[in-house]
């Protein structure tokens, strides 16, 4: 069982949360020409790092806020969590 520290509610069990994927993915800017490559990278292509991984989680059975988590994908160690507006 992962224990994740929600920046709003504190430490909670994994089953209160839903996963939201790689947090480093950025949507191409609106109202500008987007190359196919940029769009592919946004929609499909992922680095899926082994080791430290910055990702989104959703406290879906709690405060329902999205936030960022830095976690090791091999050991599941969680280093930091932060609000969406904050940098890790």
């Amino acid at each position: 069982m992962l224990h994740i520290k929600c920046p709003f509610c504190g430490m909670r069990s994994q089953n209160e949360f839903a996963y939201g994927g790689d947090a480093s993915v950025k949507r191409p800017e609106l109202n500008k020409e987007v190359t196919d490559k940029d769009w592919d990278d946004f929609v499909y292509n992922r680095k899926s790092l082994r080791g430290k991984h910055l990702e989104l989680w959703h406290h879906i059975s709690g405060c329902r806020q999205w936030f960022k988590v830095e976690r090791d994908t091999a050991t599941h160690e969680i280093f930091k969590t932060a609000k969406m507006s904050d940098e890790i």
Partner: protein, 418 residues
């Protein structure tokens, strides 16, 4: 190569089974090969075997960072099926079914292929309609499919919960009678033994550290056992695909996730074929040893840990209990996890890459084991002929850019949306 038969078994019994030949050798790598296959799992071993057998390319090395068959081919739930709706998936896997049917004879190794059928349970009228559609599509591709009503399902699996006041009552199911299971380790060992006998070098405990590329063409790999040159290199590394892609400066439409499975203590025969729960992600079969073999959802977040977390097991078995209440009295014997190369549309990729001489076989998601023979067969063709076979032409890498996705079930990596 020593042929395995009842006579060789009796003969070796006289010497206490001390004089069997080794099944495959442990060679030191040569300086150069025609083809290097990275990954000594089922798909890699099958690829090497078919390169030698179908294309007469025997100067081949398989490089494996651990030991052969130690990854997903040793960690799956051994289900073999071709009950797909899309033409590309159906034809590909039905070709694979034909390879499975003859595999024990061909490899002279009993892979215990046991076509006992698979039933996908339906729990609503809408689901019955969807299964009728899928069954019709399957039959158009020459795959056997039978739509079963509630009573017909009850005859086959009377121990399931057929009460009407449950949350997901059983309405019926879609059955593929020719589907089944096989002994997974035997598949890896059988391919390894035959590939070795045809001259393929199986190099274990040898990790790829870097790729040598010059002028857009691959020339070899640097490994923990030194430099090995090759004209062609094929990647068959499942959950490690992203790690090698990073060394190639490629980002792929793949995410690596942990999928768990578990077995109960062995019990007397109760379940003949494979059954899947249609209202959640749960599937079950009974092994020849009597264990109930079960699996379901991914852990749900990127993971390279080849072990899982208990909340997922609990979630999966909650679904299991909804169909088979008798499971509640069984003790769990083992749970384990493997890391899946989850593609973004749920279908695999078997293709060339932008680097000349580098070929990619990945994206098998939950279902790599059943495709082991046909994956090896088509990947060997793709490498040998430098172009995909008709069977894997739609499993292209660029389908994500062009929009020709093969979203059989509309589930790729994003199971948290599902």
């Amino acid at each position: 190569m020593q042929k395995y038969s009842v006579f060789s078994l009796i003969k070796n019994a006289f010497t206490d089974h001390m004089n069997w030949d080794v099944a495959w050798k442990d060679p030191t790598p040569k300086k150069e090969y025609d083809v290097i296959i990275i990954g000594g799992g089922g798909h890699g071993l099958a690829t090497a075997y078919y390169l030698a057998k179908e294309h007469n390319i025997t100067n081949v090395a398989i490089i494996e960072k651990g030991w052969i068959g130690g990854g997903n081919v040793g960690r799956n739930t051994t289900i073999i099926r071709s009950n797909f709706m899309y033409d590309a998936n159906g034809r590909f896997n039905e070709f694979g079914m034909d390879l499975w049917r003859n595999l024990s004879q061909e490899l002279n190794f009993n892979v215990m292929f046991s076509p006992r059928g698979i039933i996908n349970l339906a729990h609503s009228d809408a689901q019955m309609n969807a299964y009728a559609r899928r069954g019709n599509s399957m039959r158009l591709n020459g795959i056997d499919a039978v739509l079963l009503n509630r009573e017909e399902v009850k005859k086959i699996i009377p121990m399931a919960d057929f009460s009407e006041d449950v949350r997901f009552p059983i309405f019926g199911g879609l059955m593929q009678p020719s589907a089944g299971t096989a002994r997974h380790d035997a598949v890896a060992w059988g391919y390894a033994r035959q590939a070795d006998s045809m001259g393929v070098d199986i190099i274990q405990h040898c990790e790829v550290e870097a790729f040598n590329i010059s002028n857009g063409k691959i020339t070899g790999v640097r490994t923990s056992k030194g430099q090995i040159n090759a004209k062609k290199v094929g990647l068959c590394v499942a959950g490690s695909t992203n790690i090698l892609a990073e060394k190639l400066n490629m980002t792929l439409p793949i995410e690596t996730h942990c999928l768990q499975a578990c077995v109960s203590e062995p019990v007397k025969p109760i379940l003949d074929g494979v059954v899947t729960f249609g209202a959640g992600h749960f599937y079950i079969s009974q092994s020849d040893k009597g264990e109930m073999v079960m699996g379901g959802d991914l852990d749900g977040y990127n993971s390279y840990a080849q072990r899982g977390n208990l909340p997922t097991i609990q979630h999966v078995l909650t679904g299991g209990l909804a169909v088979f209440p008798f499971l509640s009295r069984l003790k769990m014997l083992r749970t384990w996890g493997g890391i899946m190369d989850m593609s973004m549309d749920g279908s695999p990729i078997i293709d060339k890459t932008h680097i000349d001489g580098l070929y990619l076989n990945c994206g098998w998601c939950y279902g790599g084991f059943k495709s082991t023979p046909v994956s090896g067969w088509t990947f060997a063709h793709t490498i040998a002929q430098d172009r995909p076979h008709e069977l894997n032409s739609e499993y292209s890498l660029n389908r994500f850019s062009t929009g020709h996705l093969l979203d059989e079930k509309g589930i790729g990596t994003k199971t948290w949306i599902g």
